[in-house]
Symmetry: C2
Subunit: 255 residues, 2 copies
């Protein structure tokens, strides 16, 4: 049996420790092709490059057997290029990460990591985004490696319904302290926005985004609950964002 | 009764004819504050600016009573800045557009116009994104103006459930040929990606994204069906992208 073909991307850039850890694990499982941004692309959401051209050049970063390409575009661009230009056949799996920092609850909307996974799902490929709850550059990915291996092997065996992907978040804990895996919904949490208002050297105003994370969703079936209680959270995600339960009310408006 | 406060943004930039048409209509309805990108931001999805600072400067474009700010960031940045810095109180409505080109079906995921509306919904404000099925700079917005006025007045009267926004697409037709409004779901259509592969003057390869739109969703309850049949499509949209119908299957995996 031939090895599964795995397309890898992320949003922290091709040199980030998180994607290097991910590559190390999955190259033991399959044939790996990496198409990842050549610079950090955090918070890029589902941006794609429409008004300029893209570079996508082969690069060798370590001595592993994987092929790697660094791309000038967004995470979603990387997956589009991977699926339609770089790979000669449809991959068996598309994975993104391991992100340095959480992509739980509302963060899934802003996340470049998850947009790469969602783009894989749009392309009809079983896809997963992995994130570790540790923003630091020298985060410890040893727990993440075990989690990735378990989930990747499971998906390669079970498949994933078309148009779905998984949003996997991993607590910052040694594996021995992880309580297990929880299948969850996205918590209804949000950021209370705030901006630092500053003056540049010429006296003109500029702004820096900052914010406080607020979770008002006390459900025990959410990703935030799972993570706060030592579980790996797994949220199935889809690109159909229709609010179905609001359709009948809207129809009653008789516009 | 004081006038409703309306925050306006878009993704084609503050000088685009679409947003100018939108401002013309809504300033007859309420007190209008515009916070819009200072350059085109099409395809920016739900990108936000995390790694650099933002400019947001007042600007006067026409002789209207509205206040306007041009922002260096993405559409989602504009709404965040509008809600937390520029406006002194929570607006009654947040509207984005009128986009030059469709944001129906899968395009909602990539759309900067819709990310502005969704960001409004995340901020707890009733929000709408408007798009006209005409990409040209000199598109005729006369039908759109009537549609915008109808829907804005309706929402100001009825309100919108928290966390929801509307994705409104308008056919390129005279108003007399519009068959009405259809409340729909997002069609399961997609782009068959393709890239132009080109050589720069030094012989190095670069890529341009192109693609063919493919709709394999034959449902008559979709936005694509509505638009193809002369209706204005209205899809209620939410930021919870959990795939609820997949949760039980995932649980059966016993990870």
């Amino acid at each position: 049996m031939s090895k599964p073909l795995i397309l890898v991307s992320n949003d922290d850039g091709i040199l980030a420790p998180g994607i290097r850890a991910l590559i190390e694990i999955v190259r033991e499982i399959g044939e790996v092709v990496v198409v990842a941004p050549n610079k950090p692309q955090s918070g890029m959401g589902h941006a794609i490059t429409l008004n300029s051209s893209l570079r996508c050049d082969e690069i060798q970063i370590d001595k592993g057997p994987q092929k790697e390409y660094e791309c000038s575009g967004t995470p979603a661009d990387c997956i589009k290029l991977g699926l339609s230009v770089i790979l000669k056949r449809k991959p068996d799996l598309c994975i993104s990460g391991i992100n340095h920092g959480a992509n739980s609850s509302i963060n899934v909307i802003y996340s470049g990591t998850m947009s790469a996974a969602l783009e894989g799902a749009i392309g009809g490929v079983p896809s997963i985004g992995f994130s570790l709850l540790d923003y630091s550059h020298d985060a410890d990915f040893s727990t993440s490696k075990i989690v990735v291996k378990n989930i990747v092997n499971k998906i390669l065996k079970e498949g994933l319904a078309t148009g779905r992907c998984l949003n996997v978040n991993i607590p910052k804990l040694p594996f021995s302290e992880i309580n297990g895996y929880k299948i969850c919904r996205q918590a209804d949490a949000s950021w209370k926005e705030d901006f630092d208002v500053r003056k540049d050297p010429t006296g003109k105003t500029y702004y820096w985004l900052k914010g406080i994370f607020q979770n008002h969703d006390y459900g025990k079936d959410t990703d935030e609950w799972a993570l706060a209680n030592g579980y790996v959270s797994i949220v199935p995600v889809q690109y159909d964002i229709t609010s179905y339960d609001f359709i009948s009310e809207l129809k009653s408006w008789n516009l």
